[in-house]
Every structure is written in C-alpha cells, then in structure tokens.
C-alpha cells in the first residue's frame, strides 16, 4: 500500500493534568473537516458524546521474538483492526495514553504488527507538558523524561502560570533531553491543529529549520543575557557560594539583542577549557573568548573591569546568574539584561540526551544495515528513538527511517532535491556521541 494510503496516527502523551483532555476537546470540536477516531484511555474524562471516541484499557503485550524490550498495545491491534474494516474510513487516528504511560509500546505497535504496519503510519508523538509542574515530574518520575524523549512535538502548556525566563529554562532543559522535538508554548492547549496532526514523523528538515543548532553538542554554558551599555568603564561582579572555584564567562559585542543566540553559537566554537583564570581587578576585553572568574573565597564580591564602547553586549555564563551572583555595573548602577536565554546545563539530564549526525559523503546501504542492526540489537534498550534521512550511494531517492528501541522501519522516499546530506538523530540514555559519529562515518561508501 502506498504510504499516502496509510492512515496517520498521532499519539498523545502527557501527565494527568497537563491538558490532554483540553486538547482532545479542541480537536474533536474544531472545524478541520477531518474524520478523526479517538482512542482514549482515561475513563470518563471526555465530555463529548461522540461516536468516534472509543474507550479502551491499555493492554501491553510482550512479544517472544527475541527482542527483550519489544512490547505492543494489544488493545490497539484489536480496536484498529476493527476500525479498518468499517466502510466509513477515518482520516486520522488519535491515541491518548494514560498519564504515566511509557510511549514505547504504542509506538512499537505500528512497527511490529504486519496489519498495523500495512494500514497505519505513526505520524507523530505529541507530548503535553504542564509548565508549572514539569520540573517536579522530571525529577520524580522517569515516565516524564521518557515522554519528552519520545516526542516529535511538545506543547509546553499552561504558560500563563509561569514567567518567561522560567519557560526559557524549561525549553532549554527539554531540548537537552530531546533536541529534535518542536516545542510550542500554549495556554489551555490552544494550538493550530496542523502543528499536532500533520507532524510527518520523518521530516527532519522541518526540525532543522526550527533549531539550526540541534546537531551541535550540548552547550557548555547555561545562560546568555543581552545588555545595552553606554560608553565607559563597567564592572562585572560575581559572588561565589562555595560550590565552585570559578565560573567561565564570555563577553561578546553584538549588533542587537536579537543576536543573542548567534553569540551563543560563536561562543560554542571557542574552547572553554583553554580559558585563562583571571584575578580580581583584571580587565575583560570583549571578544569570542572565555575567561575563568574566581569565586573564592566564598561570599566575597569579585569585580572585574570592562571598558566598553556604547552598544549591545552578550554576556555568557557557565552557570545561571543567580547561582554565581553575576551582575553588571555601570558606576554604582546595576544594568539589567534586555533579553536572556537559558541553555541546557551540561550536568542536567546527562542520562537522556540527543545526538545528531550530518554527513555529506554517500552511505553504503549494506554497511549501514550491518551497523544499525548491531547497534539496535546491542543498545536498543537505551535508544528511545532513532530517525534519519540517508544519502545512499547509487540511489537518487532519500532513504528515510525511524526506529523505536530495537525496531525500525526504513523505506525509500522521494528523490533528493537540493544537497544530498544524510542526517541522523538518536535520542536515548547514556549515548556516546563519538562512538555513534564514528560508527556512522564508517558506513561511507
């Protein structure tokens, strides 16, 4: 069956109270002209008397196929098997999971069962997050992290209850776990339905448009702020609390606050480990370079000189400003940032991360199969999701694939237009970037 004839399936995950029911209600009442069947698992939550809402209990089946993490949702195979036979075909299937569900079994269902595979395609995993409570969930429940790791789209919901700076930090933390997901900020789960229903799970290029740095390693710093300064001497002040001996800081001139992320990209390229250690009273000259500002003795104020021309400056800091007492002073007056961005901390969520790989040389299909096969067999338990668009030597079509744990589905897609660039993303636990990059590079034809 051609891919376009397979009915798209969207999986909706998120903790209880994140707003799944609200989103479902938008989808069921929205004027989108599609026939959507909803399979939902939390009884009695939906207030709509709609025949297309099917309530089911999650029945998770382990498969005896030698794949230790291979589980499927037996209830879905049964229910969708019945829907498939109805004359009134649906345009779209939406599967809501229970709050604490591991998204793997539902995703794997569409890879494992031959009928499901023939008739349906997993369009996307959409995860709703309660911006107010997610940090608590991430730290207390592994399921929250898994739901983020599995997502193609994340709705950071209830943003009206949280400050913008806090949302920036949350988004940075989410990207630290899953660099591939598109994050939308919402209140009352209000979102253009195309953003959740037409995800097109394979379309990495769209993910790249959203976050051009997503193939980069994680940022070695947590915060960047933009400051508008008058000409003259300034002081950069830090105060240690005893937890760190020093903090890495960079000061870059930028043309406007909008270039804060650009400054961050430049700073990533500079070697943080080679940063010279300054002493109190030293002067920092703005530029693409890191400096180590001492934080000892604890509790003592450390001032560094900054001789600035009038303009906008980006200050990048290894830790969050409140952790090291970072302030900028013009004379005795404090200068507040006009914009700030948080980045994933290098020590947060180290166990669940993303690794992106790009390669322009053509790839040998047999080598790729052997490498991926062995990798998924040996490391599949730790790999939540794998996605790729591959430039196969001698084939003018793109090879697209996606995998969940040890299972994957690969097929030739449309012909290449534009540069033939292979892109590959792994999201999982304890990933070794170098090992993955070297493994993939070894598949070059």
């Amino acid at each position: 069956m051609p891919d376009s004839d397979r009915i798209p399936v969207t999986v909706l995950t998120g903790f209880l109270g994140a707003g799944k029911t609200t989103l479902l209600n938008h989808i069921l009442t929205g004027q989108h002209g599609r026939r959507i069947a909803v399979i939902e698992n939390e009884f009695g939550e939906i207030g709509i008397d709609d025949r297309l809402v099917i309530q089911a209990e999650e029945e998770i089946f382990e498969m005896n196929n030698g794949c230790i993490c291979c589980t499927v949702r037996g209830d879905l195979i049964r229910i969708l098997g019945n829907l498939m036979r109805r004359r009134d075909r649906f345009d779209h299937i939406l599967v809501e999971t229970t709050g604490l569900a591991d998204p793997a079994p539902v995703a794997q269902t569409f890879f494992v069962d031959s009928d499901m595979r023939a008739n349906f395609r997993l369009d996307g995993v959409v995860t709703l997050i309660d911006a107010k409570h997610i940090l608590q969930h991430i730290d207390e429940a592994p399921e929250a992290k898994e739901q983020i790791a599995f997502a193609d789209v994340i709705l950071l919901n209830k943003t009206d209850l949280v400050e913008t700076a806090e949302l920036d930090r949350l988004e940075a933390r989410i990207h630290g776990i899953n660099a591939m997901a598109r994050v939308h900020r919402t209140t009352r789960a209000k979102i253009d339905l195309a953003a959740v229903l037409d995800v097109g799970g394979f379309d990495l290029s769209r993910a790249l448009e959203v976050k051009p740095t997503f193939l980069e390693p994680e940022y070695p710093f947590e915060w960047a702020g933009a400051f508008t300064c008058a000409a003259g001497p300034h002081r950069l002040r830090c105060t240690g609390d005893g937890s760190d001996a020093d903090v890495a800081i960079a000061v870059l001139a930028i043309s406007s606050a909008a270039d804060l992320r650009l400054a961050a990209e430049q700073a990533v390229a500079a070697d943080l480990r080679a940063a010279p250690r300054l002493r109190p009273g030293n002067t920092i000259v703005p530029g693409v370079a890191w400096h180590r500002v001492p934080l000892e003795p604890a509790g003592q104020t450390i001032d560094l000189g900054l001789d600035l021309a009038a303009g906008t400056y980006a200050i990048l800091c290894e830790h969050r400003p409140d952790e090291v007492g970072l302030t900028l002073l013009a004379g005795d007056r404090q200068v507040d940032p006009v914009a700030e961005v948080g980045f994933a901390g290098h020590d947060h969520d180290a166990e669940v991360t993303s690794v992106g790989i790009e390669e322009s040389a053509p790839i040998d299909l047999a080598k790729l199969n052997a490498w991926l096969g062995a990798l998924l067999r040996e490391r599949g338990v730790d790999l939540f999701r794998t996605k790729g668009i591959i430039n196969i030597a001698g084939d003018d079509r793109r090879l697209v694939f996606q995998g969940v744990h040890m299972l994957f589905d690969a097929q030739p897609d449309r012909p290449w237009t534009g540069p033939r660039l292979s892109q590959l993303v792994f999201i999982g636990r304890n990933l070794d970037r170098e090992e993955l990059v070297e493994g993939f590079r070894a598949c070059r034809a």
Partner: protein, 330 residues
C-alpha cells in the same frame, strides 16, 4: 503459478460492506452474511437471493454464527449487544452483554448455549437470553473463543488459554507466555491450537497437557483449522501454508508439509467435511481450493478475502471480501 483455473462462482452478490463472517445454516440451505456495517442478511444458498435482513449492530457488527442444530443464529457487535435471532419466526432475543464491544460468538455443540465474548468475560447464555455463567474475568480482553465437540468452551487471552464447562463450573487453564489471536479445536476435541500475535502457533493435547510451540512463520497466522477426521493442523502464516500432523507419536522433528500457491498473505481458511480438501483466500483477492495437496485457483477478487465458509452438506464454498462481495462456488 501452477494452479488450474476452474469455472466461476455459482452466484455472486454485493453486500453492505466488508464481510466479517459467513456461516451456513445447519441444513446447508442458507448462508448468513455479517458485514462490518450495514444490514445482516440471510441468502439462499442456491441462488444468492435475500431471504431476510436485520439491521446491523450500531457502530459495527463483529461476528455471527448459526446454531449447529436449528433455526437460531447469534450475532455480536460494537454496541455491546448480542442477538439470538429465530430465523423461522419472530421471537428474537436481545442481550445487553456489557459496556464494551461484544466481539465473538460461539455456540455449544448441542445448540443449547451461546457464549459471547465481551471485554474480559466470556458470558454464556441460554436460548432465552438468561445468563447461565460468566467465564472469567481474564487478565485482559478475550481475544478468541471456540467450543469443542466434547463440550469444553475454550477462551484465549494474553497469557494462555482457559477451558470452561459453564454448566458444571469446571475450569482448567493452560498458561503460555504469549498473545493468542485465534483458536481452533481438532474435530475430536483432543487438541487445541492457538495462533499467536508473534507469528507462532501453540498446540495443547488436552488429555495430558502436552504442548508444542510451532514457529518460523514469516507473518502472523490469521486463520487456522484442523482437518475434519484426523488431528492435522493447517496454518497459513504469510503466503505459504504449513500442514502439521498430530496423529503420530510426536510432530516434533517432523517438518510440516508446506503448500505454496498464494503470493499474498492468507487471510481466511475454510475446511470441508472431506480430508485433504480445504480452501484459502489471500490479501490480493485470490481464492485457492486445495485437494490432496494440489492447488486450484478458483477466482481472484478485486479486494482482500475476509471470510470463508464451507458448506459440508452441499460441498459448496462461500467467500466474502473486504469490499463487500459474497460469492458461492459449487
């Protein structure tokens, strides 16, 4: 393709839509057609004309079966209901089985009881619709159900199969780590076979609890059946059929006979009353009659074969398709 094409069907009609079940009446004169949505109908076996119709179950019908002994038939559907229909009169009985879908229906061999699977229960009713016994609850939804000639009701759900005698309350269980999707009793009730979600088949010998795991199928076994006289099991897994003999001392070590003719996965199977005579239908619409291991292609339909039933009285074969065609071959 080595098959021999034969003459076309005796009759062919278009029905409401996807054919879920086909069943011949006990005298072999009438055919019950249960489509996924739309009217449930009885057709004349001789010419296909419609004898009677009933409204289908709201949201969709799941299965239908004719009583082995008389004029009654039973249907079950996604409205949670079952109907016992009196085809000779008008004393129909509606049964509110449960809140979820009623997916399977099975008659006891004496025709006095009907079992309906709904969620985790197999509920057993008398002909007046009185609940006689609940078999279960199972750990998850009942996936398949079949009644043996010796009076055991077998149910299958993730984790194994269960045997029940609803009238005495006697019960047995056979644990197996797997997810069954279909069940079939051998004609003498000595062996029970379950098709598994993970492309395997598990067989139990009831007398001594001996069991066999049959695997190596390239796809899941969507239909399975035993030959009418001896315990010989036919298992289409993917396009090819494997035939296993359980009438010797031990099928282990004996490879199955493999029958190849189909090029698409086999979706339906019907056994006749004659040994080594059965029929299969595949996803590409091809119907094959097998006689002594040789294939004859009966027809190729435009859509997938979805149901088949052999008329043991008249030797004719009914075939239903996913796009709502029913045909009968002589």
């Amino acid at each position: 393709m080595s098959g021999v094409s034969v003459a076309g069907p005796r009759w062919q009609v278009a029905v409401a839509d996807h054919v879920r079940s086909l069943a011949w009446s006990s005298d072999g004169a009438r055919l019950l057609v249960v489509p996924a949505t739309g009217a449930i109908a009885i057709h004349h076996g001789a010419d296909g004309s419609v004898v009677r119709t009933w409204e289908g179950h709201r949201d969709g019908s799941c299965s239908g079966a004719w009583s082995p002994t008389g004029e009654l038939l039973a249907t079950a559907g996604q409205d949670g209901r079952a109907w016992i229909r009196d085809t000779a009169g008008d004393s129909d009985v509606a049964i509110e089985v449960g809140r979820g879908w009623s997916e399977h229906v099975a008659w006891s061999p004496d025709g006095r009881l009907v079992a309906i699977a709904n969620g985790r229960l197999a509920r057993v009713y008398t002909l007046t619709g009185t609940l006689l016994a609940d078999c279960g609850p199972h750990p998850v939804t009942v996936a398949a159900m079949a009644w043996s000639s010796r009076g055991w009701l077998a149910t299958a759900a993730y984790g194994g199969v269960w045997l029940w005698r609803p009238e005495t309350g006697e019960q047995r269980s056979y644990a197996w780590k797997g997810a069954p999707i279909g069940l079939a009793w051998s004609a003498d009730g000595s062996h029970l076979a379950a098709a598994m979600q993970d492309s395997a088949v598990h067989v139990w010998r009831i007398a001594d609890h001996r069991d066999w795991d049959l695997h190596g199928f390239p796809d899941k076994v969507r239909a399975l059946a035993w030959e009418p006289k001896r315990p010989i099991l036919i298992t289409p897994g993917g396009a090819d059929l494997a035939v296993w003999r359980f009438d010797g001392s031990d099928p282990n070590g004996q490879p199955p006979v493999v029958l190849a003719q189909h090029e698409a996965p086999v979706m339906a199977l019907a056994v006749s009353g004659t040994p080594q005579l059965f029929a299969t239908g595949d996803r590409a619409g091809q119907v094959v009659r097998w006689r002594n291991g040789r294939a004859e292609v009966l027809a190729t339909f435009a859509d997938s074969i979805s149901a088949m039933a052999w008329n043991v009285h008249h030797g004719s074969l009914a075939v239903g398709t996913a796009d709502g065609t029913v045909a009968v071959f002589a």
